[in-house]
Amino acid sequence: MLVYTFRRLLLILPTLLGVSLVIFAILALSPGDPLAAVVSEEYGNTAEDIERIREQLHLNDPLHVQYLNFLWDALRGDLGTSFRGGSSVLNDIMARLPSTIQLAIAGLIATMLLGVSAGVLAALYRGGLPDKLTMLFAFVGVSIPSVYAALLLLLIFAVELRWFKVVGDEGLKSLILPAAAMALIPAGVLARLTRASMLEVMEEDYVRTARAKGIREALVTVMHIFRNALIPIVTYLGLLAGSLLSGQVFVENVFGRPGLGRFLVDSISARDYPQIRGGILFVAVGYVFVNLIVDLLYGVIDPRITYE
């Protein structure tokens, strides 16, 4: 296990290198001048000013030199300075991070609660009403864009029922609606997956054996069926991270939460390249690590997986 963990950590290095290269390349291939949105002769900057700023930001260096500088700076925790206001991109990101992590955790919990419980109920009452309702929810849920789910929740629970404020921070309470909106699509997928996985495990010999030994049905359901059904569900967690991330970008903006999703969108709208590049690199690297953790979790949940 330790050797495996170490090897996975080593293998992550080329991935991170590739990810940084792809992000740098996409943004460097931009057809326009990255500076055009900030300084230009239209705004009264002289040609010398522009040239001086270009030189200052090393935009005249050849691309491979720019990339190596970008990489070296990123490794030392320097993601550059924003075109607007000149603040440190890493500081900007860190200021937004708590809000994003809070919502990510709330969204994950909402997804698991909604998806797993609906899936388990559907499997236990196969063909019955809970099953039909779950499958309907799963089907309709994945067809509602998170932006729209968020708007509808706001409309119903904040504007009409006034249970929540439309804008403004209400502490943990203000996480409920965004988390629900984010959870809708992944919970639908998770419910289907949990149901299928439960049904498969229910047919296994060891479940029959457990029942034959006279173990109580509730215990069989939890210890024998549910625990083994969890394995494909954990596999899905890795994919779920991507789905939640995309939900987060949309939902943060609908609810006006000051998180990283909103930061990315704002920086793209303002064409602030250092912010775009730093923000996307930061989130992508975080995503790679989340996937690594999920991978390592398999072994904890399923002792049948051995790491040679």
């Binding site: 990810v19 326009g32 067809s143 409309l155 299928a196």
Partner: protein, 312 residues
């Protein structure tokens, strides 16, 4: 196979007592037809799939004829007299903050949103098919190179790839379509490469090679038709996601810009006037949900039709 042959084949199987040997009713009926026809027959016997197809056909028809029902001027021009009217017979979806008929805008917006979705899938599918076929078929260092590249792209969540392309190209509907389409390429490449590797092992491919068929012929005549099924299913389900993501990015102000009636752009305006006019966000969103729902029904139907063993 020509229709007459298949009719004859069907007749002879039926006469030889197919149903007596306990085959499922839907298989003996169609024995002897080509796999495509068998899948089509299964698809059209699935009520949910047919419902989805009917709704999608209706949506396409209505959006095609939108210009005949509402003129562009009607949905773009500001009219103070009809600001924020709630839904009525004259304006079934109400009017927006600039006095424009929302039904007309939703219909016109469908042209933008659906076209964006189709183009996104086309870009992803086109790029992925080319890369996947080359990768799966060539093997060796070419395969290795493409796969390592795809590995890296898959390590970045699709939404981030799309955002970085929009970041490079700047906001706009065309840019968003390109971005989401490009972000889809790695998924399709993986899928198609896998199918090709599987299909390559089939005897008909070896037979074709022994007969001296060129690589290109084997690739397009023998392998592609045999891997198209799962790809079609994936692309259909991907279309729904593409429509949701492009609308979402337009909502964020990165895609279609006002006064475009694109559904996501309409949602954005609806958000601002939500307190006074619930119909502004509700109807364009409902249009997205209905379109995506019908596409998902078609996709699920296709999946069952192509691979009946998976049916639950």
């Amino acid at each position: 196979m020509r229709p007459t042959d298949s009719q004859a084949a069907k007749g002879s199987t039926a006469a030889s007592g197919g149903p007596d040997i306990g085959q499922p009713a839907d298989d003996w009926l169609v024995v002897g037809r080509s796999p495509v026809r068998r899948a089509a027959a299964r698809f059209f016997r699935d009520p949910l799939a047919v419902t989805g197809l009917t709704i999608m056909a209706l949506i396409i028809l209505i959006t095609l004829f939108a210009p005949q029902i509402y003129s562009w001027d009607e949905i773009i021009n500001v009219s103070n007299a009809t600001k924020l009217l709630s839904p009525s017979a004259a304006h079934p979806f109400g009017t927006d903050n600039l006095g424009r008929d929302q039904l007309g805008r939703v219909l016109w917006g469908g042209r933008e949103s659906l076209r964006a979705g189709y183009l996104v899938v086309l870009i992803g599918l086109g790029g992925g098919t080319i890369l996947g076929l080359i990768s799966g078929f060539a093997g060796g260092w070419v395969d290795n190179l493409i796969q390592r590249f795809v590995d890296v792209l898959l390590a970045i969540p699709g939404i981030l790839l799309a955002l970085s392309v929009v970041g490079a190209l700047g906001p706009g509907l065309v840019q968003v379509m390109l971005a989401v389409g490009l972000a889809n390429i790695p998924d399709y490449t993986r899928l198609i490469r896998g199918s090709v590797l599987e299909a390559k092992e089939n005897e008909y491919v070896r037979a074709a090679r022994v007969l001296g068929a060129s690589n290109r012929r084997i690739m397009f005549r023998h392998i592609l038709p045999n891997v198209i099924g799962p790809i079609l299913v994936y692309a259909t389900l991907g279309l729904g996601i593409a429509i949701m993501i492009t609308a979402g990015l337009s909502y964020l102000g990165l895609g279609a810009q006002p006064p475009s009636p694109e559904w996501g752009a309409m949602l954005n305006q609806g958000r601002q006037f939500m307190r006074h006019a619930w119909w502004m966000p509700v109807f364009p969103g409902l249009a997205i949900v209905i379109a995506v729902l019908s596409i998902n029904l078609i996709g699920d139907g296709l999946q069952d039709a192509i691979n009946p063993k998976l049916r639950k």
